[in-house]
Subunit: 393 residues, 2 copies
Amino acid sequence: MPAGGVGSQGALRAANRRLVLDALLESGALIQADLARRTGLSAATVSTIVHDLTAEGLLRIQDTVSSGRRARAVSLRPDAGVAVGIDIGRRHVRVVLADLSHTVLAEEESQAHLGAPASEHIALVRKLFDALLSSTGVERSAVVGVGAGLPGPIDVRDGQVGSASILPEWIGVNAAEALGDALGMPVSVDNDANLGVLAEATWGAARGHRDAVYLKIGTGVGAGLIIGGEPHRGAIGLAGEIGHLTMDENGQVCRCGNRGCLETTASSSIVLDLLARSHGDDLTVADAVAAAHGGDVACRRVIGDVGRHAGVAVANLCNLINPGIIVVGGQLAAAGEVLMDPLREAFARYAIPSVGASTQVTTGSLGRGAQSMGAVALALQSAERHLLAGGSR
Amino acid sequence: MPAGGVGSQGALRAANRRLVLDALLESGALIQADLARRTGLSAATVSTIVHDLTAEGLLRIQDTVSSGRRARAVSLRPDAGVAVGIDIGRRHVRVVLADLSHTVLAEEESQAHLGAPASEHIALVRKLFDALLSSTGVERSAVVGVGAGLPGPIDVRDGQVGSASILPEWIGVNAAEALGDALGMPVSVDNDANLGVLAEATWGAARGHRDAVYLKIGTGVGAGLIIGGEPHRGAIGLAGEIGHLTMDENGQVCRCGNRGCLETTASSSIVLDLLARSHGDDLTVADAVAAAHGGDVACRRVIGDVGRHAGVAVANLCNLINPGIIVVGGQLAAAGEVLMDPLREAFARYAIPSVGASTQVTTGSLGRGAQSMGAVALALQSAERHLLAGGSR
């Protein structure tokens, strides 16, 4: 029960302010009438809260037209603070700065070395973070929240990477603490695929779905799950490890120690490995995708095979949890139908027919930004606590 | 928002009555102080509600001793009504009558013919239902709710069996309507594995787990999922179809139309098929289990192989949704360690190590009663609506 007890006026007012801030943090800007509909609050209650929050310097109101009539668009004041989203991949680090209405103000990305220790990635994050603040002139004190995604599962019991074999570089590191120490402020951390599904469900292709899966095909392969409208992390935070489904008991040895995991046949690393002999060691994933679009037969074949393997795994996933939509992201998703046609074909073949016929299978609408936007969403969750506690800044 | 609006006294009182009834329907009997703790209501509020519900004839209060002190144990009056749970298998039908404190008053079971049309199963349900009422002397008007489990997925879009190939006998039948017509009262219907997880999570081995899976190994194979504390049915109600995971792309043809599904290597039907040549056509699952316990090498081997195949599938399931516990039920679960040792061994081999080490894998504590007790739980959910609406009877 909330402090103050059921029916306490103070608790009710705080809960209603939270509903309004929540809706605005999620949607960016809303017509005041839609704000009432979205929160379930009366028009009069919304009007009072909007008035108070505006007086406190948190909201701005702009005149607009909705359904042919004059209306008031309410949004958080961008200058009420900024949120920072960090996307840490196995081969890259990306940092974005967004205002509270979700507009990305600036972003920086650098390549990282596959297999480099966590400390190198953390140093890179700090460098990009400092560069962003300095290039935009944003004060450190204006940062209301920082979120970060890691390409491995986070064990909820100790905040460390939950599998020694999946992300060995980060073993023994509490990522939230280590990043927080490096940046000098609290950082919330989650698995990158979890951030992908959070972003696509909040702003992208999975919007409106109560049960949604984000499949990230990158250097590794992982899934983020939304079940019953809530992110699902599992008992110890290892839910979504679709890259380690056994597809072939006698297949290649996987970095996780098992054999024939999906990841051994369906990652961007495999694409580069398979193309190395014909296309050389310097080929990048972006090169392979561009060549596939240009008609290169080998690139189309290799990327198509990734789709086919992923489709079998996705069918098995859907037979188990029956989501309404599968959103495919990660760098290979840029291959579009070269990847998706074979993926959908395999999916239809291995899914229970009524599941196959009713599940939407699509690429994400946020592209490579899904991870960093998800990290911004994570950051805004702490921003909300900050705004509720502190009021105007 | 509930009718009456936030803070409305009437809505608040109804919500608080619901909390108290909920806790008693789930737990059977509670010390009044525990009732307050469980519901989060104040002692004074609980006292008023208990007083009112007792005056309405719904509750009874018995003196007891708790922690060495005199205390009041509160429970629903058994004579306030009965709930009926129906377990429909592919080879059997079972009906139980329980009072509102969850005590099974009587039960009836009959064998059914595999492949018989739904109408035969429904006629059998009616016969057992009538026989139970007559043998116990319970009036039809005392039945406050009826729940039933079917051995196939229910499509939430139309209430029909969600896969033509999984349960062909029931295609085109709305099970809730057909059973309701046969019994002359509303019937709630769910998949049998969903009822199994509901029962084991409410009263059995999975109690206290927010993420739990019930694996039913019967004539068919299915799973019931509790995710984030709530039953998970999926976008169209087909979640949990673990029997149709592809384990071997080139394996036996499955009744679902695919090849190498788990069900083609890990059901009680397969056990009987494999033992037919050595042990004859008349062997039952109970016979095979008894023989295995008696040391029969072939029965131990065949049941162990079912465990091994199921363990691989369960590992894949756990890599995807990372539940805290897997509860194994269905008729073969009676084989105990003959089934479970190979199952756990395969599970440990195919699960991500930290998932393998942290997931509890056990047989259910309710045995074959899990399905019918789950059906009673489903019935009590409608009973709750009935009690809230009608008060005393």
